[in-house]
């Protein structure tokens, strides 16, 4: 099989050349950010580092990290480097508490994003002849629109079907002849089950490639999706703070990890406890610096995702570094049906309800292929009522507030006091029964 590249020159550039591109872009970025964004300038000054101190790629380690809290502290647009009239789009993802994390894009950023996403699609084996079924959610979430623009950039046909309504999804797949499926891996399995229920043989469909992301998944899950949907399943990585989908993508040698579009996103692996940069191949927290973004560049963003970086040449011919499938998190973030959920957000909702004390526990499970989340709340005297109706209304209210803030439907269960396990006096907030 011949390998198709979207931008062969940059994707197969010898590392020396790639690194020189990265260094010149990094210097420009740091100078620009230092000049235009006060919070960055303040942090750099405090760390005693000036833009001119960046002389090699290794000097990146001198720069302070950026964390999600920085985004919250500068909500909504405080970290943008351009005036708002140059921003053509914003996206948002859930923050760790009430406020979402907002990111912005200039027209050029959208172009860059479309391009790296087209590169990702191409890397997975898609071409302009494909009918691409995009089941990522469209909206503030970067998944849907981010992938969409890449599909169009590639010249393939985009089916902007978005999430939900599996029966309709399958009818469309069948009637339109979808060849590439973009969704979360768990939703792909859900579609397989729906096909089974509808009596549709996946082999009768035209699906050939799956590009799955937005949640962690295992090699076992890959085997299952490939078997059940009769396609080649590949992993895609991205996060809104860095760009959105298309930051990294597996080539057809899926055992080797995802190629990072390094000319745009500079990765590092650090020790999450000390912040030290770790040598290639070692496991740690993934950190990204955007090299070309205009509206919302980010320097040394701590993703809290755990991965490894492999710089060895890949059989596909790409010289772009590969990142291992995400194997964990350094924080307590949960991914429920592709949506990021922090226990602190649930706590935030509960604290807002009169009389409710934050004695709660989140139980996550997988029912079939869909994640389920149950929030158990201890009933305290503050909101206990002898009327069923009042307690049920309260239950519904909490459910709605969580749905509003997190975008995830959950079940709320009222439990007796002290039923939630307390280990060493500290409550265990999350019980994840999923076996991924």
């Amino acid at each position: 099989m011949t390998v198709a590249y979207w931008e062969e020159e940059i994707e197969t550039l010898p590392r020396v050349g790639l690194e020189s591109v990265q260094l010149s872009r990094l210097k420009n970025l740091v100078a620009r950010v230092y000049k235009t964004v006060k919070p960055y300038r303040v942090k750099m000054d405090a760390a005693g580092v000036k833009p001119e101190d960046i002389k090699t790629l290794a000097d990146l380690a001198k720069l302070p990290f950026t964390v999600k809290e920085d985004l919250r502290d500068n909500y909504p647009f405080g970290l943008f480097t351009v005036p708002l009239d140059e921003v053509v789009r914003v996206h948002a993802s859930s923050g760790t508490t009430g406020k979402p994390t907002v990111v912005g894009y200039t027209a050029k950023d959208i172009k860059t994003w479309s391009n790296v996403m087209a590169r990702a699609l191409c890397c997975a084996g898609a071409t302009k002849n494909d009918m691409v079924h995009n089941a990522y959610g469209y909206g503030l979430f970067t998944g849907g629109l981010g992938a969409h623009y890449g599909i169009e950039r590639l010249g393939a046909t985009a089916i902007p079907v978005s999430g939900g309504n599996s029966k309709r999804q399958i009818t469309i797949m069948k009637d339109f002849g979808s060849t590439v499926l973009l969704s979360t891996p768990s939703y792909a399995l859900n579609l397989a089950d729906s096909m089974d229920a509808m009596g549709i043989d996946p082999k009768s469909l035209s699906l050939r490639i799956g590009i799955f992301g937005a949640e962690p998944w295992s090699e076992n899950m890959r085997d299952e999706v490939e078997r059940k949907l009769n396609l080649k399943a590949t992993d895609i990585y991205g996060l809104s703070e860095v760009m959105g989908p298309g930051v990294a993508q597996e080539c057809l040698h899926t055992e080797r990890g995802m190629h990072i579009s390094e000319d745009h996103f500079l990765p590092e692996i650090i020790d999450p406890d000390t912040g030290e940069v770790l040598p290639p191949g070692e496991k740690g927290e993934l950190v990204f610096t955007t090299l070309t973004k205009e509206a919302f560049p980010i320097i040394r963003y701590r993703t809290k995702d755990i991965s490894r970086l492999f710089y060895e040449p890949c059989a596909c011919g790409r010289t772009l570094v590969r990142m291992e499938k995400i194997t964990g998190r350094t924080d307590d973030m949960l991914i429920i049906r592709g949506v990021n959920v922090f226990p602190s957000q649930v706590e935030h909702v509960l604290m807002g309800v009169d009389g409710v004390e934050p004695h709660y526990q989140i139980v996550v499970d997988r029912d079939g292929n869909l994640d389920t989340m149950e929030v158990q709340v201890e009933v305290s005297e503050g909101f206990f009522s002898d009327e069923i109706r009042k307690l049920e209304n309260l239950n519904k209210y909490i459910q709605m507030e969580i749905k509003d803030l997190l975008g995830v439907t959950c079940k709320v269960k009222l439990v007796e006091p002290k039923t939630i396990q307390r280990s060493e006096g500290k409550a265990q907030r999350v019980i994840d029964n999923r076996r991924i």
């Binding site: 009933v379 305290s380 005297e381 206990f384 009522s385 002898d386 009327e387 069923i388 109706r389 307690l391 049920e392 269960k413 009222l414 439990v415 007796e416 006091p417 002290k418 039923t419």
Partner: protein, 143 residues
Amino acid sequence: MLVEQIAVFLENKSGRLAEITAVLAENGVNIRALSVADTADFGILRLIVDKVEKAKEVLKANGFTVGKTDVIAVEVDDKTGGLARVLQCIKEASINVEYMYAFVNKTGENAVLIFRFEKMEEAITMLQNGGFTIISREQICAL
């Protein structure tokens, strides 16, 4: 005119009701009447007892969520139509019943109806005007 009722939150787990009654028995609390309201996930146990404060204290000490609510106890003859007449009176004032339960007193002649109304004060007035016997806190403890 109002009677105090104890309400206890119960998860639907086996043995919870047994535990509550055991705690009350150990502490010499006598249950006059009770009812359980239940949903798929939880229940509310409502109790009329002779020692309200004691009951509340010992249940709390045993880790239960306990509430105290005012209810109205109406005594009627244990005869056909006893409850119907009370409800008719309440219906005329368009007052909703949140919940109710009943027990028959020791002599077996009278039934005691325990009510929680949406509008408690209005209900008392209606019942008094209708000539019904409302039992006081002291009377119910003595029953």
